[in-house]
Point group: none
Chain length 218, copies 2
DNA sequence: TTTTAATTACCACAAAAATGGTATTGAGTT
DNA sequence: AACTCAATACCATTTTTGTGGTAATTAAAA
């Protein structure tokens, strides 16, 4: 089955060039081509293509990113590949956060563009190594958020607990194992258990999640 | 300035081959080579290389992933590239979560390996398109900042989970036991387990608290 | 039509958590 | 001096979780 593709780009020359690439290739089907976000938002949910090539800068009106964000929430199955002239790291990153699945540079050769579409269609996420790093970093920084905003995020020390017990509760709330807590605090695992035992007694709970819920005031 | 590289691999042949690639190339410096995690954990913080090539399967003892996790927390500046024979998606994904910056397949040609090291050193994150997609998806499933206001008190369904899975996640978040969830939903405890198993797979977590933290957007 | 995803269920094994006991040390209090 | 509490550590046992198979049914999608 052919991969159906829609194109959204405000620049007529580039749009036509992309159309030609799709039209001239076996295994790909051009199902629509739009010069602005409004037309795309209207037509793409009806056409339901497999893949949309979306320009990031659509000139006047809505940006390609906003367009992806809206379309993706309506049609999560459609795969969006952002196209851009320059490697605007931050923009592409925003696009990925908005729901885009990959991106290519417009200067990419026709063959590579087709490859990238196929790659996307087959479960990949074509993107440059620089963007990948940003995504990986953002991904990795997620668990650390709790670290940095320990008190700010929410979750307050409980006054009936001792300092050490509160300290351990914070680590419990991150989902660490006893052995991990132990090595982090340089105490034995058995000691951690005992602290946890006392925490449960004082809070009148009998498992981790209930204790953590107290910590977060739920 | 040359890029200094350490190698960690339990297979002597592969290790020697990687050593040769580094030694024979201009612009790269071999600063250490280790056959197991213990030696690596001991020496790498002292050597402080720019890049570490780390085998995922280190045979006996600690895995390459655990090794990266520990070294990364000690020395966040060091870049870790995972090396593997097969495309073990889940493992590599775990490695990235643990702090790895990229990965290559061992079958990669020497020239490509050097390119990947340079790419890593220059801010990229060399990885296959399939892994990139996984990372992007995990990244997207994280609730964004704008949503955080609503989620602060209640928690919200995660779109990559099925309805039933979300339903169970809500009960998990209350700290209910499997048997309690089972009787509340009129299904068997084993079915609850299986749902939870899938929830953990999809969220890439491995215990209740981590899953619940996702639910509450942390 | 064939394939995929969701839901259900059971099993076995391993790992971790929970329960509840003892016991030592040091700091602070009565 | 005797007492309590917080923190440390170890032990034994049970319960609960986590991992990872198999498998049937149904609904939806390719």
């Amino acid at each position: 089955m052919d991969i159906s593709v829609c194109i959204v780009d405000d620049n007529k020359d580039i749009r036509t060039a992309l159309e030609q690439i799709i039209l001239m290739s076996d295994g790909y089907l051009l199902s629509g081509s739009f010069s602005n976000a409004d037309k795309a938002l209207e037509q793409i949910p009806l056409l339901m293509p497999d893949v949309v090539l979306m320009d990031i800068n659509l000139g006047e009106g809505e940006s390609g990113i906003e367009c992806v964000s809206q379309l993706k929430s309506q049609c999560p199955e459609i795969l969006f590949m952002m196209c851009t002239v320059y490697e605007e790291d931050e923009k592409i990153f925003e696009a990925l956060a908005a729901g885009a699945n990959g991106y290519i540079l417009k200067k990419t050769s026709p063959g590579k563009i087709l490859d990238a579409i196929k790659e996307l269609y087959e479960g990949g996420a074509p993107m440059s190594s620089q963007i990948a790093r940003k995504v990986v970093t953002a991904f990795q920084s997620r668990p650390n958020e709790a670290d940095q905003f320990e008190t700010a995020t929410q979750g307050k020390p409980i006054n009936i607990l001792s300092n050490r017990e509160n300290e351990i509760l914070v680590l419990l709330a991150k989902g660490l194992l006893y052995k991990e807590i132990a090595s982090q605090l340089f105490i034995s695992q058995e000691t951690v258990r005992k602290h946890v035992y006392h925490i449960y007694e004082k809070l009148h709970v009998n498992n981790r999640v209930e204790a953590v819920n107290r910590f977060f005031g739920r």
